[in-house]
C-alpha cells in the first residue's frame, strides 16, 4: 500500500497542527503527573486513547466506503470516486494550511463554548487524575473536529475495507504520537519558528498524499471496477456480498 508510509509521515509532520489544536490537552494531562515516569505513562495512555478512536473512526469510514461500493457499483466506480475525492480534500487542506488558499474559518460560531454541550462532558475526563480518565480523555480527543482527520478519514473510506481503514488511521495516529508525547512530557511546545516550518512541511506532505490518492483513483478508473490494491492477507477472498 503506497499511502501507508506517506500517511505515517503526514502524521509526524501533522503534529505541528496537532500541537496547535490538541497540545493544550496534552499539557493539561501532563500537569497531573508526579514524575517523569508517571508523565510518560499518562501521555502514553492519552495517545493510546486517541489512536484507538482514530482506528475506530477509520474502521467506520472503511466500512461506509465498502457499503457504498456495494450499493452503487453499477453507477459509478466508487473506489475511484472516493480516492479522488479524498485526494482532492487532502490537497485542498494542504494548500489551505500552506497559506495558498485564504478561506475564512466559519466553524467558529458553531464551536463556541456556549453551543458546545459536550464541553462539560469532555472536561470531566481532563480533570481526572487516574489513568482511566486520561485514557478516556484521549478517546474523546480523537472525536474532536479536525480538518487533518477528515482528510485522512476520506482516504480510509476510499480503501473500502474495515481493516485497511482502521489500519490507515492507526498509522496516522502513530505518526502524531512521538512529538505529542514529547511535548506533553517536557511541558513545552515546539517554538514558533520551528512550528511554522513544520507546519509548512506538513502542508506539502498533505498535498503529496492527496496527489497520490488522486493518482490512485485515476488508476482505478482506467482499470474499471477492479481494486488495484488490497490487504495481502485476503487478496484472494471472494467479492464482498451483502449481509
Amino acid at each position: 500500500m503506497i499511502e501507508l508510509p506517506l500517511v505515517f509521515v503526514a502524521g509526524i509532520l501533522g503534529t505541528a497542527h496537532c500541537l496547535g489544536m490538541c497540545g493544550p490537552f496534552a499539557l493539561a494531562i501532563g500537569s497531573g503527573a508526579s514524575g517523569w515516569g508517571s508523565a510518560l505513562g499518562r501521555q502514553a495512555a492519552y495517545t493510546a486513547g486517541r489512536i484507538f478512536t482514530y482506528g475506530v473512526l477509520g474502521a467506520v469510514a472503511g466500512y461506509c466506503g465498502s457499503r457504498l461500493n456495494q450499493a452503487l457499483p453499477a453507477i459509478v466506480n466508487i473506489p475511484a470516486v472516493l480516492a479522488i475525492a479524498a485526494g482532492l480534500l487532502l490537497v485542498y487542506m494542504g494548500l489551505r494550511s500552506a497559506g495558498w488558499l485564504a478561506v475564512g474559518n466559519r466553524a467558529g460560531n458553531v464551536l463556541s463554548p456556549s453551543f458546545c454541550l459536550a464541553g462539560g462532558f469532555f472536561g470531566q475526563f481532563l480533570r481526572q487524575r487516574g489513568m482511566s480518565g486520561v485514557f478516556l480523555a484521549g478517546v474523546f480527543t480523537g472525536l474532536l473536529p479536525c480538518g487533518l482527520l477528515y482528510g485522512m478519514l476520506a482516504l480510509a473510506a476510499s480503501l473500502h475495507s474495515v481493516v485497511l481503514g482502521g489500519l490507515t488511521m492507526v498509522v496516522f495516529g502513530l505518526g502524531t504520537a512521538p512529538a505529542m508525547i514529547l511535548a506533553g512530557v517536557t511541558g513545552r511546545l515546539v517554538g514558533l519558528a520551528t512550528r511554522q516550518r513544520l507546519y509548512a512541511a506538513a502542508a506539502w506532505c498533505l498535498v503529496l498524499t492527496g496527489v497520490v490518492s488522486v493518482g490512485r483513483g485515476m488508476l482505478f478508473l482506467s482499470l474499471g471496477n477492479q481494486p488495484a490494491i488490497g490487504c495481502p492477507a485476503c487478496e484472494n477472498r471472494p467479492p464482498l456480498a451483502a449481509r
Binding site: F52, T53, G55, V56, A59, V60, Y63, S66, S114, F115, L117, A118, G120, F121, Q124, F125, Q128, G130, S132, G133, F135, L136, V139, F140, S161, V162, V163, G166, R237, P238, L240, A241, A242, R243
Partner: protein, 740 residues
C-alpha cells in the same frame, strides 16, 4: 384563531405545575408523589442529578463519569467487531474464516457485558422508579428492548447460528444515557439566566444601629432598617439613599449597561451594584420582598405556566408511549407472521429506539425558558408564559399618551401677561398657588415661575384648596380677595374675565395645554404648557411599523392636542376617550388580531388588562400589583420592537421544534417499523433529535436584534389599514404622506 380566543387564553388562570428538581422545567404529571421525593422530568436529569449530587464527593462524581466514558469505549469496540462481522458474510468458507467469525461474535459479547453492567443499572432504576409511581416510561420500553436484543444474541451465540445484536443493546444504552445527559445539561443552560437573577442577592448586609455597623444575614433586614453598602457590593433590599452619592450599575434590574449616579433621597432597588463610594440606605422593604425577589417570582410564575403549544405537546405525548409500544409489538408480530422473527425483533427495537417523546416535551418549554431569560437580561420582565406567542401574533400596538409617549413631565413653552406692570406679581401668585398642588400642570408652572423669579421672599398662599377638574384657589398677602390658577373654563366660571385679545390666538390651535392666573375679576396671565415627547418614541414606532404592526394612540386628552403629537410621531390617534371608551376601542381593534397596549402601569390598568398583551413602562417597582403581562424595566420604548422580534423568533423556534420532532417521530417510526432503519442508526438519530431541539432553543438565549434584520427597511403599514369605523379617529397629515 380569533382575537377572542387570545383574550380567553390570556385571562385563563395560570396553571402552576410541578418542576424538575434538576433543570427546573415543568414536569408532566406529579401523580401524587410525595413532595420530599426528588422529582425529575426525564432520565437525563435523574442521571445528571446523580452526578451533580456526588460533586461533593469527587471520587463518586468521577466514577459516574468514568463509567459512562468506559461504556462508550467498550461500545466502540463492539462497533468495530460488528462491522467486521458485517463485512464478512457467514457463508464464507474455510476454517480460518469460521474461527475468525466466531471470535468476532464472542468479542462482541465480551465488550457488551461491561456496557450493560455500567449503564443498564441507571436505566432500569429509572424505569422502576417511574413504574412505582404507576406510569410506564420510555425507559421501561428501552429496558425491555435491550434485554430482548441481549438475550436473543446470546441464544444465537450459544446455538452457533443466527444473528447477534450486541451492538444494538450497546448503542441504545450509550445513546440514551449520553444523549439524555447532554439534554439535561442543555436544559440547565437555558435556565441559567434566570437562576443567575436569584443568585444576585447578597447573603449578608451591613446593618447600621446608630454609628455601629453589624454584619447580619440579609434575610434579617426589615423595612425601616438602615444599612451600608460598600463599593463592589450589591444592595440587599429596596430603599432610599440617606447618605453619600455613588455610581450604581442598575443593569440587573433595568438592563441599562451604563452606570448612573444616585444620591440622597433617590430610590435604589435590591440587586443593583454599587460601583464606587459607600452609601447608606434606608430599607423600604424586607430582604425577600424587594424588587429582585419579585422579579424572580414573576418570571418563575411565567415559566411554570403552560402555554398553548405546551398543552398541545402534552396532549400528543399522552398518546405517544402506548402508541409506540403498540407499533413495536405490531411490527414484531407482522415480521414474525411473514417468517422472519429476527428482522421483526430488529425492527421493533428500532421503533422503540427512534421514538423520542422527550424532544416533543422539550420543544416548547426549552424555547420559552431561553426567551424569558433573555428578555429578563435585557430589562423586560415577562409575567405570563403565553405572552410571547400572543406578542408574535399581534397586529396592533396602542400607546397611552401621557407618561408613555411623553415623559409625563410638562414644561411651560410660553407665557403672556395682561399688563407688563402685573407680570412679576402674576408670576409670584402663580408660583404660590402652584406650589400647593402636585398636578403636572401646576408643577410645570411652579418650575417656570421659579426660573423667572430670583428675588425673595416668596409669596405664600393661604386658605388654598384644589377644585377637581378646575384648578387651585387661595389667598396671598399682596393681593386682596381670592386668586385663581386653573383652566380657562373654570376661571370664567369664577367670574375672571379674559382680556378681549386673548380669546383667539396664542394657544388657539390647541397644541398645548394652558393654565391661567386671575384675580380681581380679570385674568392676568396665561401659561402654555407642552408635553415632552420621549426622544426614542419616534424610532421605536418606526421599528414597530417595519415589523408590520399598526400603531395608534389612545388618550383621554383633547383631540387637537393629541393630533399634534400624532402628527409629530406619525401616529393615528383616538382622543377624548373615557376609560370605558378605551376598552371599547381595544375590543374593536382586537377583531383584527391580538392588541398590545402600552401604558404606564398604574393609570392604565383597565386598558392594560383588556388588551391581549399589556405592556407596562418602567413600573418595575410595582411589578407585583399592576395588570400588565410585560414590564419594561427601563424607560425605553425601543425595547418594544426588540421584544416583538424576540417573541416572533421564539414562536418560530417553538414551531420549528414541534414540527421537527413530530415529523422526525412519524418518519422515524414508519421507517423503523418497515425494517428500513437499523436500531444503531435509530439510537444515534434519537440522541441527535433531542440535542437539535436544545441547540435550536439555546440560540434564543443569544438573541440579538441585529440578527433579525431589524434595521432593514420593509413596507410600512398604511393608515388605510386602520379601522375607520372607530369613532374619533384622526390620522395625522404626516401619516397620509407615508401612505402616498
Amino acid at each position: 384563531m380569533s382575537a377572542g380566543d387570545h383574550q380567553h387564553r390570556v385571562r385563563h388562570p395560570v396553571h402552576e405545575s410541578p418542576t424538575c428538581d434538576f433543570c427546573g422545567l415543568p414536569v408532566a404529571d406529579d401523580c401524587g408523589s410525595a413532595a420530599e421525593v426528588p422529582r425529575y422530568c426525564c432520565f437525563g436529569c435523574r442521571f445528571a442529578a446523580s452526578i451533580a449530587a456526588s460533586h461533593g464527593d469527587e471520587g463518586q462524581a468521577n466514577w459516574a463519569m468514568t463509567r459512562l466514558g468506559l461504556a462508550i469505549f467498550f461500545a466502540m469496540n463492539v462497533m468495530v467487531f460488528t462491522m467486521l462481522l458485517w463485512s464478512q458474510p457467514e457463508s464464507e468458507q474455510g476454517p480460518l474464516a469460521g474461527v475468525w467469525y466466531d471470535l468476532a461474535r464472542y468479542a462482541c459479547l465480551f465488550f457488551t457485558l461491561p456496557v450493560v453492567l455500567m449503564l443498564g443499572g441507571p436505566l432500569a432504576s429509572d424505569a422502576a422508579t417511574e413504574l412505582s409511581r404507576g406510569r410506564p416510561s420510555l425507559s421501561l420500553l428501552l429496558c425491555v428492548g435491550v434485554a430482548a436484543a441481549l438475550l436473543y444474541s446470546i441464544w444465537s451465540l450459544v446455538r452457533g447460528v443466527g444473528h447477534v445484536y450486541f451492538e444494538v443493546a450497546c448503542t441504545i444504552l450509550v445513546a440514551t444515557t449520553l444523549g439524555r445527559w447532554l439534554e439535561a445539561t442543555g436544559k440547565l443552560q437555558t435556565t441559567a439566566a434566570l437562576r443567575g437573577l436569584a443568585r444576585l442577592l447578597p447573603e449578608q448586609a451591613r446593618l447600621l444601629r446608630g454609628s455601629e455597623e453589624t454584619l447580619v444575614p440579609a434575610s434579617e433586614l426589615v423595612a425601616g432598617d438602615a444599612f451600608r453598602v460598600l463599593p463592589g457590593e450589591r444592595i440587599a433590599a429596596d430603599g432610599e439613599i440617606v447618605r453619600h452619592e455613588a455610581s450604581i450599575d442598575e443593569q440587573v434590574v433595568t438592563g441599562e449597561s451604563l452606570p448612573v449616579v444616585r444620591g440622597p433621597g433617590q430610590r435604589v432597588l435590591s440587586g443593583m451594584l454599587v460601583l464606587d463610594g459607600p452609601m447608606e440606605i434606608l430599607a423600604s422593604a424586607g430582604s425577600g420582598e424587594g424588587m429582585l425577589a419579585r422579579m424572580v417570582e414573576a418570571v418563575t410564575k411565567a415559566t411554570a405556566a403552560r402555554s398553548h403549544y405546551q398543552r398541545l405537546a402534552e396532549q400528543i405525548s399522552r398518546w405517544f408511549l402506548p402508541l409506540v409500544a403498540t407499533v413495536a409489538l405490531a411490527t414484531l408480530a407482522l415480521h414474525w407472521w411473514y417468517g422472519d422473527p429476527a428482522a421483526g425483533l430488529l425492527a421493533a427495537l428500532a421503533v422503540l429506539t427512534i421514538a423520542c417523546p422527550c424532544a416533543l416535551g422539550l420543544a416548547t418549554p426549552m424555547a420559552l425558558w431561553a426567551a424569558v431569560g433573555r428578555a429578563a437580561q435585557a430589562g423586560v420582565l415577562l409575567c405570563e408564559g403565553d405572552v410571547l406567542s400572543l406578542l408574535a401574533l399581534a397586529k396592533t400596538v396602542c400607546f397611552d399618551k401621557t407618561g408613555t409617549l411623553t415623559t409625563g413631565r410638562a414644561i411651560v413653552s410660553g407665557a403672556r401677561f395682561a399688563s407688563a406692570a402685573d407680570a412679576k406679581l402674576a408670576l409670584k401668585v402663580a408660583r404660590a398657588l402652584a406650589d400647593t398642588s402636585s398636578h403636572p400642570l401646576s408643577c410645570a408652572v411652579a418650575e417656570y415661575a421659579a426660573e423667572q423669579l430670583t428675588e425673595k421672599p416668596r409669596l405664600q398662599a393661604t386658605d388654598a384648596h384644589i377644585v377637581p377638574g378646575g384648578g387651585v384657589v387661595g389667598r396671598v398677602d399682596e393681593v386682596p380677595g381670592y386668586v385663581y390658577l386653573g383652566s380657562r373654563k373654570w376661571l370664567a366660571d369664577c367670574q375672571q374675565a379674559l382680556p378681549a385679545t386673548w380669546i383667539t390666538g396664542f394657544s388657539d390651535d390647541g397644541r398645548a395645554a394652558e393654565t391661567l392666573v386671575g384675580w380681581g375679576g380679570k385674568v392676568r396671565s396665561q401659561f402654555l404648557i407642552d408635553q415632552t415627547v420621549r426622544p426614542e418614541a419616534e424610532q421605536a414606532i418606526a421599528a414597530l411599523r417595519r415589523s408590520g404592526l399598526e400603531c395608534c394612540m389612545l388618550t383621554g386628552d383633547r383631540a387637537s392636542r393629541a393630533r399634534s403629537l400624532g402628527d409629530q410621531l406619525q401616529l393615528a390617534v383616538l382622543a377624548e376617550l373615557l376609560p370605558a371608551d378605551k376598552l371599547a376601542a381595544i375590543a374593536e381593534l382586537a377583531t383584527d388580531g391580538p392588541v398590545v397596549m402600552v401604558g404606564d402601569g398604574i393609570n392604565d390598568a383597565p386598558a392594560l388588562a383588556a388588551a391581549d398583551v399589556g405592556v407596562a413602562l418602567a413600573s418595575g417597582t410595582d411589578i407585583s400589583r399592576h395588570s400588565a403581562a410585560v414590564c419594561l424595566l427601563r424607560d425605553d420604548l425601543r425595547l418594544l420592537p426588540w421584544l416583538v422580534q424576540l417573541a416572533r423568533a421564539t414562536v418560530r423556534t417553538i414551531r420549528w421544534n414541534l414540527v421537527w420532532t413530530f415529523a422526525y417521530n412519524v418518519a422515524g417510526i414508519g421507517l423503523a417499523a418497515a425494517g428500513w432503519l437499523h436500531p444503531v442508526l435509530a439510537a444515534i438519530a434519537m440522541a441527535a433529535s433531542g440535542l437539535l431541539v436544545i441547540g435550536n432553543s439555546l440560540m434564543l438565549a443569544q438573541f440579538d436584534l441585529a440578527d433579525h434584520r431589524a434595521d432593514d427597511p420593509s413596507p410600512r403599514s398604511s393608515p388605510d389599514q386602520f379601522p375607520s369605523q372607530a369613532p374619533g379617529w384622526t390620522a395625522g397629515p404626516a401619516h397620509a404622506e407615508v401612505a402616498t
